[in-house]
Amino acid sequence: MTNIHPAPKIAVRELRKSFGRKRVLNGLDLDCDSGESLVIIGGSGTGKSVLIKCILGLLSPEEGSIRIDGIETVGLRRAARERLLQKFGMLFQGSALFDSLPVWENVAFGLVQGRGMERQTAKEIALAKLAAVGLGPEVGELRPAELSGGMQKRVALARAIAAEPEIIFFDEPTTGLDPIMADVINNLIVKCVREVGTTAVSITHDLVSARKIADRIAMLHQGRIIWHGPTAEIDRSGNPYVDQFINGRAEGPIQMEIRAA
């Protein structure tokens, strides 16, 4: 990928990560500009979640460089990593809410534990963020297990935006939701990203969601970005891999690994 901009918000170069003998990321290059909403698409097991976990520092790559605001983050020590993480918000695929805490404490967690904010102030912010994702204050006192999947996703979104991070990662934000709830989540993501001017990196299989939330789409295949471009151009990418993926065809250059039982 050509580096057009002098200082992208996120710049990944030659990233390599393996699990045992399986190489998941194989010299991956990726840029994301400040305020941009980038969606990474690709088949299951192509390393989309691994890429995000490497950027967040949850996994350590074997080789390569990840720069945030021009600063190298691979190999950061723990304290520096904790400071860096204050720039990030993350919406996990399964929401990953803390089931031992009520909803409002989930949303306020990063403010209280990560930033040392006073609990009452953090609670007010948490309730405001819950309202921003369409949930009333009564929901704040419930436990995550008492919520539906769609509500849990909205709480997770409120938690991701609570500290108003500079960069938010969305891991399969609409997976497992009905089409209407998926569209509600898409709208909330667009609203959060556009209103606050946050940089957003999302990974998804859901092309409807991708078209709605992305400024730019990148396709990951066999550990590399094989195509990227503005959302409007994805239908005329001229890339057979992208065409097969967005049209959901079993026939094409992408061969699914299916083992006989």
Binding site: L85, Q86, M90, F92, G94, L97, Q113, G114, R115
Partner: protein, 258 residues
């Protein structure tokens, strides 16, 4: 033959790697202790979990252990006309050995398994990764409070188990075996030394650390969904139980070995 030796070598290397991971895990968690933030509320909550909620099971096992001990030593010692030593044997066995070991094994089954299940579930549902992304060190937030609570609470629990165990021996000695109550209590106190109690409490603190460490470690590195969490709880209980017995011998040798 070469294959056989290679298999032994691989198993030994695997054991060393696992031991190294465990020591590094404990070291990294303990290294977070001197610097803020401090999670005192979590430590207190874990102390209540480990101590208060274990009282019924520890109390029951302690009283029956004391009772059986009195009965067994009486029938054994009567062969040498040494029945008078029953009270001393009960108090020494309970304070030095059975109080700490049996309490620790009970707590390992109850609390170690629960810790592994809770942290393991957090691992497989990405809650531990979520903690990290919210600028919270999981070792500081999840592991250290449990280790400290284990170290602080087990000795308290063992003091109570010691008292109940000795009381169990007293009940059998006085009401079943016909000892004079005053003579039984004299036999209990006169031979008891500070080292007997202190060695038991040192053991308890170490056992508390082992139980919490194995619960947290196996939970923290669990993977593979519900099956992985189930496996983690089994490993936590089995490894803690074995380590408790091994370390029990080492501490006993350090205090009383010649």
């Amino acid at each position: 033959m070469v294959r056989f030796l290679a298999a032994i070598g691989a198993a030994f290397l695997g054991f060393l790697a696992a031991a190294g991971r465990l020591v590094s895990f404990a070291g990294l968690a303990l290294a977070t202790a001197p610097t803020p933030p401090f999670y005192f509320r979590t430590i207190l909550r874990e102390m209540v979990n480990i101590g208060y909620f274990s009282l019924p099971v520890v109390g029951l096992t302690a009283i029956f252990t004391g009772m059986v001990l009195a009965l067994q030593s009486y029938t054994g010692f009567s062969r040498f006309s040494a029945e008078g030593a029953v009270a001393t044997v009960v108090v020494l066995s309970v304070t030095r050995e059975l109080g700490p070991v049996i309490s620790a094994l009970m707590v390992a089954g109850r609390v170690g398994a629960a810790m592994a299940a809770e942290i393991g579930t957090m691992r497989v549902t990405d809650q531990i990764d979520a903690l990290t992304t919210l600028s919270t060190d999981p070792l500081r937030y999840l592991v250290l409070p449990r280790l400290l609570a284990g170290i602080i609470t087990l000795p308290m629990l063992v003091v109570i188990a010691d008292i109940i165990g000795v009381f169990g021996g007293y009940l059998v000695g006085v009401y079943k075996l016909g000892f004079n109550p005053q003579a039984y209590l004299n036999g209990t106190w006169q031979r008891l030394e500070t080292t007997d109690v202190v060695s038991g409490l040192v053991k308890a603190a170490v056992f508390g650390f082992i139980i919490a460490l194995m619960g947290c470690y196996h939970g923290y590195y669990s993977r593979g969904g519900a099956q992985g969490v189930g496996q983690a709880t089994t490993y936590a209980v089995v490894s803690a139980s074995i380590l408790i017995l091994v370390v029990d011998y080492l501490i006993t040798a350090a205090f009383f070995g010649r």
